[in-house]
Structure formats: C-alpha cells, structure tokens
C-alpha cells in the first residue's frame, strides 16, 4: 500500500478531523469547514480511505422516509490520527486540539 502524499489540503482535512476524532463528517461538512475544492477533496478522501486512514459508512437513515439521499460519513482511524500527528510534527505545526465545532455528527 502506498503512503498517500500529504498536501496542504490534506493537512486542512486532517486538522478538521483531529479537532474531534470521533466526529463523522460528510463531504459537504468538510467543504464548508475547510473550503477545499470538491475536485480535490473526493480523490483525497478516496486515497486516505484506501490507505486505511479514514473509514466511511452510509448515514443510518431511510432515504424514502428522510426524503433525501443518504450522506456518506467519514471518520478518522487510529492509523489516520498517527499519520496526521506525524504530518503536523514534520510541518512544525501543532496538531489541532479537541475543541467542539459546529458541523459533523458525533
């Protein structure tokens, strides 16, 4: 398995997850909070998921009852947290704390 490259956009996404590692975030949550372009974000999420740094699952709702499609929710794994901490260390940037934020699902 290849180690995904860590770009500025990846650090932004890692930073968002690391603020509260148990949060589940949809692509829209991540776009709203990090302003990463969707054309960059989804390949990155796929890359991190394939590397085992993120996991994703469908939101637990019935689309016909909710009247909208299900969201795909991402969560950072232990491997991802280690990779994020390492990336922040290498960049000389302190890893984000566990402050509560507005978006996302616990």
């Amino acid at each position: 398995m290849h180690e995904p490259r860590i770009t500025h956009a990846t650090l932004k996404v890692f930073g968002l997850f690391m603020r509260s590692p148990r949060r589940q975030l949809s692509g829209a949550d991540i776009i709203r909070e990090t302003k990463v372009f969707s054309g960059t974000l989804y390949p990155m999420l796929a890359r991190l998921e394939l590397a085992g740094m993120l996991t994703s699952a469908w939101e637990d709702v019935d689309p016909s009852e909710a009247g909208r499609p299900r969201r795909r929710l991402y969560r950072i794994t232990a491997l991802g947290q280690n990779a994020a901490n390492k990336a922040f260390r290498e960049m000389g940037v302190p890893a984000p704390g566990r402050a509560a934020t507005s978006g996302g699902r616990a």
């Binding site: 490259r5 692509g27 829209a28 054309g39 960059t40 390949p43 969201r71 795909r72």
Partner: protein, 140 residues
Amino acid sequence: MIEFILSALAAIVLAALGAMAGAQANASAPAVARWIVRRAVLRLPPELRERYTEQWLADLQDIPGPLAKLWTAVGFVVSTGALGREHAGKQLVAEVNPQSSVKRGVRGQLGYAVGYVTGSFVRAMSLYLKFVERAAVKAA
C-alpha cells in the same frame, strides 16, 4: 424629453429582465448541479457510480447557495478521473518535482503548461464565483 423617458423606460425594462434572469438562474442552479452530478458519475467506473451518485447528491443538498452548488458540482466532474485511478489501485501522479521537468519532453512540458493554465483559470473562476455570490448576498 421623449428621449429621456424612453431611455428611462429602457433602463427599467432591462433592469427587470436582468433581475428575472438572475432569479431564474438562481432557481435553476440546484437542478443544473444535480444534472451535472448525473453526467459526472458516468465518467466513473461502473462499480462506483451508484455510490457517488447518492453521496454527491446528498452533499450538494448540504452546500448552501446556488453558485456554490454549481461550483461543487463542477468539482465532482474534475474529481472523476482521479477517483477512477484511485479505485483502480493506481497511485496518483506525484506532486511536481522540480527535477522532473528536466526529464519531460516537449509534449510533457506542453501538458504541464496546459495543466498550469487550466488550474490557474479554475482558481480564478473560484474566486470570481465567491465574489459574485457575496455580492448577491449583500444585494439581497
């Protein structure tokens, strides 16, 4: 005097038409964005289409503002090539290495230049759309 009245009337009609066109564009943007999603997923490998159709349509609903929805949908189209490669198990092209430009041939250099110009255009459009959206929000 007649000319002044006609000019004023023309300005009012044009402003009304412009407002109607803007409102129409705002109203139809989400539908256009959904249409773009359905076209974009056709560029993905068949096994990924269902997943990304549902995921992207859900994400689009959560993006506020018609222009932002459109811009996000454009991003979906952009991402399809890389997504297909990722899921095919291939590594994305590495970030540009200063030494790699030495090894590129003329076609490689041309491709890099086209990519650079396209990327700059996309970034400029992104800034422009954000500016227009903020202006529209202020006007409303």
